[in-house]
Each structure stands twice: as C-alpha cells, then as structure tokens.
Symmetry: C2
C-alpha cells in the first residue's frame, strides 16, 4: 500500500527486505526507513557489501563452504589437519563450530539433510565425490557433526555407508547435557543419552 | 569470528545486516547465508533496490516525505485536497495513515518529536517554514496526528502555537477504544478519554 504513497522503488525495497529470515512486513518497513535515514552510514556500505557478495562469493569446490576464494580459507589453511574431516549440514553449522574454535581439521558441507518426505535425496546434497575426496586426501577420521534430528541421523547413516569400505574412523558428536543446561528442562532422550555416556568424575 | 573462516567480505555483510532494526547478530548471520544461497532471486534484486534507493530517494522539500520525486507523489496528486495538512512525526506514521486510506489531504512530516530530555528542540524538526507553508498553500485545517505520548503532545502544543496567529482550524486525532480492543486491557487514561468523548448510539 506504500506503493501509492512513495513510488514503486521503496515498495520494492520493502518487499525484498521482507523476504529476509527474521523480518516480516512491518519490520521490513522499519528496516527500509532506517536504511534510507542512514543513507551514508548504512545503506551505502550495505549496498556495497551486497554487490561484493554477489560478485565474489563462491562455493568451495573442495568442501562446500562459502568464501571469496576457491578453495576456501579453511581448505587453504596450512595449520589445519586435512586428515580430519568434519561433516556438517550447513555453512551456518560450520560457522558455529568455528566460533567455538574446536575444529582443527577440514569440513565437508552437505548443504542439507536427506529428507525423503521433502523429496531431498543424496543427489541433492554435496555428496558426489565425497568418498573420492576421503581417499584422495588420505582422511583418517570423519566426524559427523549433523543435527540430532531424525533427518540428521538418517544422513549420518548414509554418509557412513558411503565410506564404510574405507579404512577410516567415523565418529559423531556426543549427546549429553548442554554446558550450563538444567536437567529439569531437558528431554528424556538427552537425559538417557547423558546417563549412558557418563564419565568418571 | 566468521572472519577467520570466510574472509572479511561475508563478515562485513553480516555486521551491516546486524545494524538493521529487528536483526541481531544471529539472525544477521542467517540473513547473510539466506542472501548468498538465494543469490539470483534475492541478493541481486535487493542489492539493486538498495542502489536505486541510495541514488534516487529524496526528501520532499514540501512535506518531508521520502520519495523518488520532489515534490513527492502525495504532494503532486491532484485528487488530494491541499487545504488539509496532517502533521505526523515520521514517514512510518504517514505510511500507516496511507495504509488506512483515510487521509485525502497533504502531510507534514516532522521527523521526530520535541524531546528536551534528549536535547531535541524545534530546530531539529522539520518546522522551519511550517507557518509559511500553511499561509502559502491556503491551508484551512491542520490535523495533528502525533503519537499519544508526552513528547508527542508537547510537540502538538508547539506546532499549534506556531500557527495560532493564523485563521485556521487545528484538530487532533480522537482518543478512545481501539477497534476490536477489549476494555479490560486498556489503561485508565484511554478509558477516561473514551468516556468523555462518548457519542450517541
């Protein structure tokens, strides 16, 4: 409706902003006004950053990460151990692990999970050439860092099968009580897993 | 922290997205990934829309609205009655009234409210030349559509004083029960105002 008021350009900006996750129609209007008000401090640099992203960001052909270089910064990092490959569902998960700073190996980003109900099969994931990569890079351990969901676990089993003929250690993240978590708020599955995997104190 | 992972370009995009109202650091990361994934459907058009907004959107010198034309679409609309001017705090308020489709006059966008505590005085608002505009355009009614806040009411009084020497009707929006509102959830001030302003049924 702002179309009649301010011309189609602003309306278009609002409609596109509303398609960002986390922004609805109302917050998209607020965001558009904020951008227009902060033209030099925010609109201009954000517009530039988007142009750069659009022109320069590529998917790493080795691991599926996104970066402005291919192979990506992680795959090219000589301090990392290429014999360990951490399999994640999405780049967001890769970023989460990097923020934690706990992975010194390489990654393999699947780009999703197997989901028969949604019609997502192996061909829709970054899996072609996965076994070949493991062989070519002499990988010794594949760590499955997929989500603890049904689709995530299905995917974990599928990936394991792909490399089961290789001499390779396949591990997965531990289940347990989140650090800082309160037992009272955890589901029975997590509590059962945490009890089974209890360690000496 | 994603900086070490994916180069500074993506990190920059995330930081700028996080400055939009309604997006925090986490949702800005999600938005950045969404944009990069939907490069052609979303990132490219949004980048273009921002460039257009940056280059073409101007503030209407007549009323303070934003548009790609000056005077704006509303000020140029021959079907509108220029003898009625609705004073609003922000362009967002103007949009809200336009969505309701209830204003057939022109607007005057103040760009904020007087707020002595925040150091916002009359010179910070779009008020210079307001009285002259009223005279030049032979305005017969000024409708104060400012928020029902202390600062909004202070501003309403100030604007009224500016034009008190002119032969002019100054009105303000009615207070009362919102349509669809439940009395139980309304504050005493609103209920008292609604009772005072009761109308024949």
């Amino acid at each position: 409706m702002a179309e009649r008021v301010a011309g189609p350009e602003i309306e278009k900006l609002i409609q596109l902003l509303a398609r960002l996750p986390g922004l609805g129609p109302r917050s998209a209007r607020r965001a558009a006004l904020h951008l227009i008000r902060k033209r030099e401090e925010l609109l201009a640099p954000l517009s530039d950053a988007m142009r750069v992203a659009r022109e320069r960001i590529v998917t790493c052909t080795a691991c599926g990460n996104i970066d402005t270089a291919d192979p990506c910064t992680i795959c090219r990092d000589p301090r990392r151990d290429p014999s360990v490959v951490v399999v994640v569902e999405t780049v967001a998960d890769l970023w989460a692990l990097e923020r934690a700073g706990v992975v010194r190996g390489h990654y393999h980003v699947l780009g999703g999970t197997l989901s028969p109900l949604d019609g997502i099969g192996p061909d829709d994931l970054n899996l072609s050439g996965f076994a070949e990569r493991i062989v070519a890079e002499s990988v010794k351990e594949v760590i499955l860092a997929v989500n603890a969901t049904v689709d995530g676990q299905t995917t974990a089993h599928y990936v394991t099968d792909l490399v089961s003929h290789l001499d390779l250690l396949v591990t997965r993240l531990a289940h347990g009580v989140p650090v800082g978590g309160e037992l009272d708020y955890l589901d029975e599955g997590t509590l059962a897993a945490a009890l089974r995997a209890r360690t000496a104190f």
